[in-house]
């Protein structure tokens, strides 16, 4: 078998901020098999039972098409171009970084086929929302030119067992150049997803990476109350910021395109930084953003054996949150 991939087509990315030949938000696996390590930025906002998932795909030059697949907690009712500055404003809000505090698989559902729920084009991005089991989505991705790394079958099953909804985003680099997009220009995507048990995909960030590779990501949560989340304190996950969202931040975010869903005040801003070895990132982030109870371990993809320790860790994190300077 050759060392190189047999076909050059779309590249499989998974998740969310700035990458090389095409994307943002995750690891980019190039046609030559190289994995580019990039830092990803995501906002997961929860309000009135609706998740607003905002991430950005940035054009980094190159030719052809590249893509990514992002697991989703539910079927989006709307997929649209995100606002122009929301992610950047969140970064600015939480910078300079304050004191860093360390925070601390389920059976797959198999389906024969894939159902295409939604297709749309945003700038140079072709977005497809899919429903299907891990193997079926993998076959769909393969049939559409994605190059799947060896851990993809297990990771797809990991997600499909909890939510069989995926977003495939294919970046047409040629179209981006025709549109005059410059290297580094981002295309923010805003998904509106009704959910009962919110979670943020994290494990997907390690897709295609070696065990010792570093995975870096910034996850922002905007919630009606201070959220509880699993896992709790854990190597590789850092609570960077936890405080009521400032009136200035809310005003700025609400003035961005598509951000009118945000209330004028009363939201809680959390910033979690992921700085983890790929081999340690075997979980997602389960969030309880409204009920005032502990999040279920199931949305986080956390095995029962780990759950007790993680809950104890989460208790510790909650203590940190209470003690956090306001």
């Amino acid at each position: 078998m050759p060392r190189l991939f047999r076909s050059v087509g779309f590249v499989l990315l998974f998740v969310t901020a700035g990458a090389s030949p095409a994307l943002a938000c995750a690891a980019l696996i190039g046609p030559n098999g190289a994995v580019n390590l990039v830092r990803t930025t995501t906002l997961a906002g929860y309000h009135d039972g609706i998740e607003h998932y905002i991430t950005s795909f940035s054009f980094q030059g190159g030719d052809g098409k590249f893509g990514s697949i992002v697991p989703l907690p539910g079927i989006p009712t709307k997929v649209e171009r995100g606002g122009g500055w929301t992610l950047q404003r969140l970064i600015r809000e939480t910078q300079p970084r304050r004191e860093v505090r360390a925070l601390l698989s389920s059976p797959a559902s198999e389906r024969d086929g894939v159902r295409v729920i939604l297709e749309t084009r945003i700038d140079a991005l072709d977005i497809t929302i899919l429903e299907g089991g891990g193997a079926a989505v993998g076959r769909w991705a393969r049939d559409h030119g994605f190059i799947l790394p060896p851990d993809a079958p297990e990771v797809l099953d990991f997600y499909a067992g909890r939510s069989p909804i995926f977003m495939a985003a294919r970046f047409d680099a040629d179209a981006a150049k025709q549109r005059g997009q410059q290297i580094g220009d981002g295309t923010p995507i805003h998904l509106t997803i009704p959910v009962e048990n919110p979670w943020v995909p994290l494990r997907i960030l390690a897709l295609g990476k070696q065990g010792g590779d570093l995975v870096q990501a910034d996850v922002y949560l905007l919630t009606d109350i201070r959220p509880a989340f699993l896992p709790g304190p854990r190597r590789g996950m850092f609570l960077q910021y936890s405080a009521p969202a400032s009136p200035e931040l809310m005003r700025d975010l609400r003035s961005d395109k598509g951000m009118g869903w945000l209330p004028a005040s009363g939201m809680w801003l959390t910033h979690l930084a992921i700085n983890s070895a790929a081999s340690d990132l075997t979980y997602d982030l389960a969030v309880d953003a409204g009920a005032g109870t502990w999040p279920s371990r199931q949305p986080g993809g956390i095995a029962p054996a780990l759950a007790v320790g993680m809950i104890l860790s989460a208790v510790w994190v909650t203590g940190l949150a209470w003690a956090w300077p306001r």
Binding site: M1, P2, R3, L4, F5, R6, G33, G134, A135, A136, V137, G138, R139, A141, R142, L148, P149, P150, D151, A152, P153, E154, L156, D157, G208, Q210
Partner: protein, 148 residues
């Protein structure tokens, strides 16, 4: 009689495959299966799932021709390459697109089943590997122990 050794599997399917493989290989070790002369090939079923061989560890008797029936349930292509470390190194750096002509070496496309028959002539240990890009380093490997 040497039993099939199976690495502890994390999935029920792995265990099922391991049990199937064990049963089949144990049957293969019963005397007189092939009658007088050349023994008939014995069947071992291997499942490729989550970029792993299930089972990944086998023990066979020297001189036994084994027909490997390999089913790939993953959505990506895999290989089944049987050989010593030199063979594995050669395939890891090789450029062959497809395998199938050499006994013990076969490409198994996604969602398909392929077969290859190999006769173990010397005691010792041979390796099983998949050399699709990144798969061997990912851990898609196993071994076959050959005993007298």
């Amino acid at each position: 009689m040497a039993p099939v050794k199976v690495m502890a599997g994390a999935y029920p399917l792995a265990r099922l495959s391991a049990l199937s493989g064990a049963a089949i290989l144990l049957a293969a070790l019963l005397p007189g299966v092939g009658g007088v002369g050349r023994p008939e090939p014995q069947v071992v079923i291997i499942t490729l799932r989550h970029s792993r061989f299930l089972p990944a560890h086998l023990t066979v008797r020297r001189g036994t021709p084994v027909r490997f029936v390999i089913t790939n349930v993953d959505p990506i292509d895999h290989e089944f390459i049987l050989g010593d470390e030199a063979v594995q190194r050669r395939h890891e750096t090789g450029t062959e697109q497809e395998h199938g002509a050499v006994p013990g070496e076969v490409t198994v496309p996604a969602g398909s089943t392929r077969e290859t028959t190999y006769t173990f002539t010397r005691p010792g240990r041979l390796l099983i590997g998949c050399h699709a890009p990144g798969h061997y380093n990912y851990g898609m490997r196993g071994w076959v122990r050959v005993v007298d």
